[in-house]
């Protein structure tokens, strides 16, 4: 056999079956046209195959065996319970008693029906969707476009809400009434026009008008303190002022959507009427109402503003 015939003859069997790749088929066919030795080799392979097909005797089942086989199989099947594939974990010994077998068998049935239910209600619909997606790029595209349009509409709706209300309805998660905030924000720009300000939560039930709030240099600091016999840390806000006017205590909050509503706003927490105690102690455990609100506001955003010329409307 020539050296160049060796790889060709290795492929002749596949060439005969038609299972060779296109490129190799062309190579072998080209070689065969030129090589009588390989032609003979192929011819003998074909004749071998033909002999096998024409003269090989395939065994057939004896007639009397058919009945015998089924009756034997039936006996074997009925004697043996169906295998309990997971029972081996629980019952290591094969000599498990009947009640265990029954219990395990019922358990297996239950598991199988649960698996079937899962398969039919969850797996199969998912497979169906993905089968469609795999076979139809258009379907996938439509899915993506639909999802994209839905997401865009939700986003635009959100932005409209933000621009209308001035704050983000989802991200703004403080316990502040949004109407109160909006009104206060609006009023803040109109402080010199004696616009009325809506009533705030307790202890204020009245409405006030106020002038331009003036940031005072009222010192705020947080110090640990001891009260009674208990040694605890208390957060104390010291307000030392000789002003006789009222003070508006508010929290300066940053608008989470600052690119839409540029300005920050303050949330009124309450108005401390003068004369107020020189030392305004805050103790979380005892705090309630207004005091509680003060407690919940971080010191860095706590703002105390003098309110004068308050007019009861």
């Amino acid at each position: 056999m020539r050296e160049q015939c060796r790889p060709i003859q290795r492929d002749l069997s596949d060439y005969m079956d038609g299972t060779l790749s296109g490129k190799k088929t062309v190579t072998v066919a080209h070689h065969l046209r030129l090589c009588p030795a390989c032609q003979r080799e192929l011819e003998s392979l074909k004749r071998t195959k033909a002999l096998l097909h024409d003269f090989y005797l395939q065994p057939d089942m004896p007639d009397d065996y058919e009945e015998q086989f089924w009756s034997e199989l039936q006996e074997v099947v009925e004697e043996r319970p169906r295998s309990i594939w997971w029972a081996g974990f629980l019952i290591p010994h094969s000599g498990a008693n009947v009640s265990w077998q029954t219990f395990a068998w019922q358990g297996q049935n239950l598991l199988e029906s649960a698996a079937d239910f899962w398969h039919s209600t969850v797996t199969r619909p998912i497979q169906w969707v993905f089968r469609w997606a795999r076979f139809s790029p258009l379907y996938t595209f439509i899915l993506f476009v639909t999802f994209g349009l839905f997401a865009a509409s939700q986003f635009l709706q959100l932005q409209e809400e933000v621009s209308r209300s001035g704050f983000h309805p989802i991200r703004f998660n403080t316990n502040i009434d949004s109407e109160e905030l909006m009104l206060f924000q609006r009023n803040r720009g109109l402080v010199n026009t004696r616009e009325k300000m809506p009533g705030l939560s307790q202890p204020l039930s009245e409405q006030f008008a106020y002038r331009q709030p003036v940031e005072t240099d009222i010192p705020k600091e947080e110090i640990p303190a001891h009260l009674g016999s208990e040694t605890q840390l208390f957060r104390v806000v010291l307000i030392e002022s000789d002003t006789s006017s009222e003070l508006l205590v508010s929290a300066q909050l940053s608008n989470p959507q600052s690119f839409l509503a540029k300005e920050d706003f303050a949330h009124p927490l309450g108005i401390v009427k003068a004369p107020f105690p020189e030392k305004f102690e805050r103790q979380k455990r005892q705090s309630a109402g207004f005091i509680n609100m003060l407690m919940d506001v971080p010191l860095r955003i706590l703002s105390i503003t003098e309110v004068y010329d308050s007019v009861k409307l």
Binding site: S13, T48, W85
Partner: protein, 198 residues
């Protein structure tokens, strides 16, 4: 009303013996044929058949329609039959009612000498026995591939799936098996006229 195979398999999963009976009726000849060709004797083929359908009954829940039921059945039959043959070979037992590989070769040589005479004088039956013995004389792995491809008509990927090997391995085994068969059948390959087919 004839039940479709999918429904039959569903019924079998619930332990329905009638479904098993229908499947046995449908596939018993296929199973016996393959088992018999691999094991080369009826008793072993019977054991393989029993084990195969018992396995089908017990393990039908593990059949997830990833292949056809027929391919799955082929896999069980072939693997059981190959295990029987390997076990037998380990015990150095020869098949009960078939000529072993050791016996076949001198027999073939004798027949080959006879066949040097004009082939037209040979009887068709003799040629059938010769071809059958030639196939039976192949090593187990080669014989299995030849049986599945040439006589059962399975494709290379199907055989690879049944034997749990690569398609390349299937092709290689088939190639070597054909080369051996060509040598064994050489006297008839050279004959100008063969007895008529069945």
């Amino acid at each position: 009303v004839e039940r479709t195979e999918a429904l039959l398999l569903d019924d079998l999963r619930e332990g329905d013996m009638a479904a098993l009976a229908i499947l046995v009726e449908k596939y018993k000849r296929l199973a016996y044929r393959v088992a018999m060709q691999i094991t080369k004797n009826h008793e072993d083929a019977n054991d393989v058949m029993q084990d195969t359908f018992l396995k089908v009954y017990e393990s039908i829940h593990s059949f997830r329609n990833e292949s056809t039921f027929e391919t799955w059945l082929y896999r069980i039959v072939v693997n059981h039959a190959m295990n029987v043959v390997k076990r037998r070979e380990r015990r150095c037992e020869s098949p009960l009612s078939a000529t072993s590989e050791m016996d076949i070769r001198p027999e073939l040589r004798r027949k080959a000498n006879l066949a040097n005479n004009p082939v037209r004088n040979a009887e068709r039956k003799e040629l059938q026995e010769w071809v059958t013995q030639a196939v039976n004389s192949l090593p187990l792995k080669h014989r299995t591939v030849v049986i599945l491809h040439e006589f059962e008509g399975l494709t290379h990927p199907e055989i690879a799936s049944i034997l749990n090997c690569s398609e390349g391995t299937v092709r290689s085994r088939l190639h070597h098996a054909r080369k051996k068969l060509r040598v064994l059948l050489k006297p008839y390959l050279d004959a100008t006229e063969l007895p008529p087919k069945t």
